[in-house]
Symmetry: C2
Subunit: 358 residues, 2 copies
């Protein structure tokens, strides 16, 4: 991975130069990980427009940093941002970019007081780079999604009337870990019966009942990469309206996936799915965006919604997760993780989308 | 809990007035939870020096907010900070305090651009209040620690040669959930043999071996409150040096606990434990502070270390966790969660500290 990270830092250096800075101080930990491979709770990275980068971390991670990033000089200091700001000044940099969406007002004031460089916000250059994944990253996402699929298959026999939402959530999370996940990628949602009308319902003590639709939204974390998947199943034979809503959401999801091509406006992809639901008279029951980018974070660029701007590109992994939520009755959401490709999306989630009756 | 939260907001209002502000905008989610009871991923709270507070959250949490905080007016808006800043101006406030350790430079710039109030940093008033717990909070911590104790007892029979560190960590985490935890309070540490020399070792594929010391650092999250406990056990009969180091750390921990009285300087409490280890010639092998406050966060005020300032007070829950780490050989750490009381600490962790030989 050393070469991969070097290439990422080279692309960042070009952005730094284009934004008239001499260097950038990267403080968001997930961005430091992306640029170095170091997964830690305290680190920062100085990336100059020209010349080698410098990594700072504390004594706890110094050994790991040397092993993971043998090509980088490493400063061992608890005050990682302070150490690298001083280093930037010592190296003769004058305009030092920083991540204004990460540094707090308090921390910035402390840094600025002592700094012998000009601190300047640079936008979100690392997040911009992170949107398009390299094939190493897509391979990790593929494995995260495969683990998630396997966990769902393993837990299916346990999903039945009388089991609580919380028990299903725990079973899914344990099955993911047993299938190779580092841990769950986010807090799992299991929403049964009327709770299905709440998109972010927390699994509780409600027992699944015959006649319920049950929505499960979960995913595995694998080597830092997040899978995201949702399936809605029926407990016992579904009513007509339940099948209708399910088929509607399914068709909307397929329409969204079909529109997810390189060059497509994210709002057009959202609209492709949303229009199907609107045309069926349920537009008001789909209150969130179609999906979001996934990678080192569960939610990252691009966001896809009716009010979002931006375009999809080759090798951008996204979710497609339309839903219909009917207060007091229940809901349906169907979600896959997929990768935008020139010939049409590569689905990383491969579990069937036929309505499962359990 | 409504009255509890009202009382907390009243104490905060007094701090706001004392700091010459008309109101404070609370944006740190854990602080909003402390002041309202609302556990969400998007909320903010406006607390004026005089008059009622106003809560803002988005549509996902509006129903929960109405149920949890019936006494508060609720603004439903995705841009919670923006909505409350506008509300502060509309209510005639001029100096609006904010949490400079939470708001990013980018978000602050957006707010300040539109704000018709003067935004002024107020320090960390909510964290100051949170340090001393009320008895409701201590009861939740007590239950979190009891769950953690029960989980350790349940997993003890599985800790033996041939089992991997990761398997032990997973067993502990599952046992905590089975014993009533919401989830683990933090990523569990299981460090065996030479890995025990790394205070924050991540549990991996190493199998426990006869002759190992094994350090396990874990805890349960219960209704938002974090337990924190560490025990070191021996796999098979320990060598003389292992017993010596264990007894040393045990004596140091008892000395630290004995010094944890209301009015004690945190650095004096740290020194009480540290001096025991120093006197035995292992001062360099104890490279971290004695402990930290626990509550709605796993690490909160007060921090206890040789370089920390501050005093303990009645009803402050802390950890006491000295360790000795010998590179290449292994380590010992023993940690309890306890509450500072006038008559001497109340131990919330009750598992034996005799060296267990498994």
């Amino acid at each position: 991975m050393g070469e991969t990270h070097t290439a990422r830092r080279r692309r960042l250096a070009a952005l730094v130069a284009a934004r008239d800075a001499d260097a950038v101080l990267v403080t968001r930990l997930v961005n430091v990980r992306y640029l170095t491979g170091l997964d830690s709770s305290r680190a920062a990275l100085l990336v100059p427009a020209e010349g080698p980068a410098v990594l700072a971390t504390d004594a706890r991670y110094a050994g790991t940093a040397e092993r993971v990033c043998p090509e980088l000089p490493i400063v061992v200091d608890r005050l990682v941002s302070e150490a690298l700001t001083a280093r930037a000044a010592a190296d003769g940099h004058r305009r030092l970019g920083f991540e204004a969406h990460d540094l707090t007002v308090e921390h910035h004031a402390t840094l600025a007081e002592k700094a012998e460089v000009e601190l300047t916000p640079l936008g979100h250059p690392v997040e911009e780079l992170r949107m398009v994944k390299d094939e190493e990253e897509i391979a990790l996402l593929r494995e995260a999604c495969a683990i998630t699929d396997r966990a769902f298959a393993a837990v299916l026999p346990e999903i039945r009337a009388g089991v609580t939402e919380r028990a299903v959530a725990i079973a899914l999370e344990r099955a993911m870990v047993d299938s190779g996940a580092e841990r769950p990628a986010f807090e799992s949602i299991v929403a049964s019966g009327p709770n299905g009308a709440v998109p972010h319902h927390r699994p509780g003590g409600r027992e699944l009942q015959p006649g319920d639709l049950v929505t499960m939204d979960f995913g595995a974390l694998y080597d830092g990469y997040h899978a995201d998947m949702t399936r809605t199943v029926a407990i016992g034979e579904p009513a007509g309206w339940q099948r209708d809503v399910y088929d509607l959401v399914h068709r909307a999801q397929l329409a969204g996936i079909g529109a997810a091509l390189p060059g497509a406006e994210t709002k057009a992809v959202d609209a492709a799915a949303r229009d199907v639901i609107k045309d069926a008279g349920h537009g008001d029951a789909f209150g969130h965006g179609l999906g979001h980018g996934v990678g080192l974070e569960i939610h990252e660029a691009p966001l896809m919604g009716y009010d979002k701007t931006g375009k999809l590109m080759d090798r951008v992994p996204i979710t497609a997760e339309p839903g219909v939520y009917l207060t007091g009755r229940g809901g349906v959401r169907i979600e896959d993780t997929l990768v935008v490709r020139p010939g049409g999306p590569e689905l990383l989630t491969t579990t069937t989308k036929d309505l499962l009756v359990l």
